[in-house]
Symmetry: C2
Subunit: 188 residues, 2 copies
DNA sequence: TTGACAACTTACTAACCAGTAAGTAAAATA
DNA sequence: TATTTTACTTACTGGTTAGTAAGTTGTCAA
C-alpha cells in the first residue's frame, strides 16, 4: 500500500516543475505546502534528482497508457491531433504552465544527467507518436504537408512547446492562434 | 568612458542566461570568471533584476539596430527570413544556447516583474518584424501561407524557440530539420 | 596640489539550499 | 506477543545565494 504522501509529493513536484522549473522550487516549498517536514520528502525521494526522474517517468508512463488506450487509439487522425493539442491547451489553462519537455530542456545544462536522459526519452516518445499520427492522417487524405512526417512532427511539437512559453508573456490568445494556424496549415 | 568590465559583465550574463537560465547563474559565477569580486558586479548592477533587464534591453536595441540597417532592410523577404533563421542557428552552434525569450519565458513565474515586461517587449518586437517580413514575402508572391501573417509569425517564432530547446535533448539535426520544414511549408 | 569621483576590494550578513543522522510512534508481520 | 518495517520528526550541517557597508586606489578636473 503506497502512501498518499508520496503521490502528493509527485503531484506537487510536477506542478512546481511546470510552473517554476527544476531550479525554481525547493524541498522546503513542497514540505510546507503539504504540511510535512523537509526530511519527509527526502525519505520518499532521497535526492532532488530522484524526485525529478520520478516525475518524468510517471508522465511518460501516463502518456503511453493514454495512447495505447482505445479512447485515443480508435480516434481519427484529426481527433487524435485535437486530443494532443488539448493536452497543451489544458496546461495553458492551468495557471499558465509550460510543458515538461520545455521546462527541462531550457534548464538542460543545469540538471542531473539522469534527468536529461529522462527528458530525451520523453521527447522521443512524444515525437514518435505525433509523427505516426501525422503520417496516418496524410495517408488517409486528411492532412496535407510536404516532407517527412518526423520533421513536421518536430515542427509542431517545438511550436507547441514554444507557444506555451510565449503565452506567458503575450497571453493565452497567442497560444490559441498558433494552434489554429497549425490546423489551417495541415488541413487546407 | 564606459568600462570594459561593465560590458564584460553584460556579455557573460547574457551567455549564462542563454546557457543556464536566470535562476541558474549567480553573481559569484560572473565574478570568478571575470577575475573580479562579487561586489564589483553589484557596483555596476545593484541587483540581479537590474542586470537581467540590462541584458534584455541591450539585446532589444541590437535587434532594432540590425533590422533598421540597410544590410537587413534591403534584403529580399526570403533573405530576411534566412537571416532570421541564422540567428537561431548561431545560438544552437554556440554551445547549444537557447533564445532569450525562451529562457526568460520558461522562468517567467520566478523572475522580477520588470524583467517580465522586458521579455514581453522583446517578444512583441521579434514577432512584429517577422509578421511584416512574412506579409511582404506573401505580397511579393515568394511565400505562401493561409491566415494572418501575425499568426504564422507566432507559429514560426514559437517553433524556433522550442526547437533550440529540443535540440539540447535530441541533437542539432532536429533543429535544422525544423528550419528546413518551415522553408518547405512557406515556399511550396 | 587638492578634491572629487569612478571603479573597485575586503569583510560581512541573513536567508535559503539539498542532504543527513538519529530518534519516534504506529502499523504490519512472524 | 515480540519484532521488524514504514513513515515520518527533530535537529543539524556545509555550501551557496543576493545584497551591503566601509574602506582603498587611481584618474581627472579645478
Amino acid at each position: 500500500m503506497t502512501t498518499n504522501t508520496k503521490r502528493a509529493i509527485l503531484d506537487l513536484a510536477e506542478s512546481l516543475l511546470l510552473d517554476k522549473g527544476f531550479n525554481g522550487f525547493s524541498y522546503a516549498h513542497i514540505a510546507s505546502e503539504l504540511g510535512v517536514k523537509n526530511a519527509a520528502i527526502h525519505y520518499h525521494f532521497p535526492s532532488k534528482e530522484d524526485l525529478g526522474c520520478a516525475v518524468v517517468q510517471r508522465y511518460r508512463d501516463r502518456f503511453q497508457l493514454w495512447v495505447n488506450n482505445a479512447r485515443v487509439k480508435d480516434l481519427s487522425p484529426q481527433e487524435k491531433l485535437d486530443w494532443f493539442f488539448s493536452i497543451y491547451a489544458s496546461l495553458r489553462a492551468d495557471q499558465g504552465k509550460v510543458c515538461l519537455g520545455g521546462s527541462l530542456e531550457t534548464e538542460f545544462n543545469s540538471i542531473p544527467v539522469s534527468l536529461r536522459q529522462q527528458t530525451e526519452s520523453l521527447t522521443n516518445e512524444l515525437l514518435s507518436w505525433l509523427a505516426s499520427t501525422l503520417e496516418e492522417g496524410r495517408e488517409a487524405g486528411i492532412f496535407q504537408f510536404n516532407g517527412e512526417s518526423g520533421n513536421k512532427a518536430a515542427l509542431i511539437l517545438s511550436s507547441l512547446q514554444g507557444a506555451l512559453q510565449m503565452a506567458r508573456a503575450l497571453g493565452t490568445e497567442t497560444f490559441h492562434a498558433v494552434v489554429a494556424q497549425h490546423k489551417q496549415d495541415l488541413l487546407v
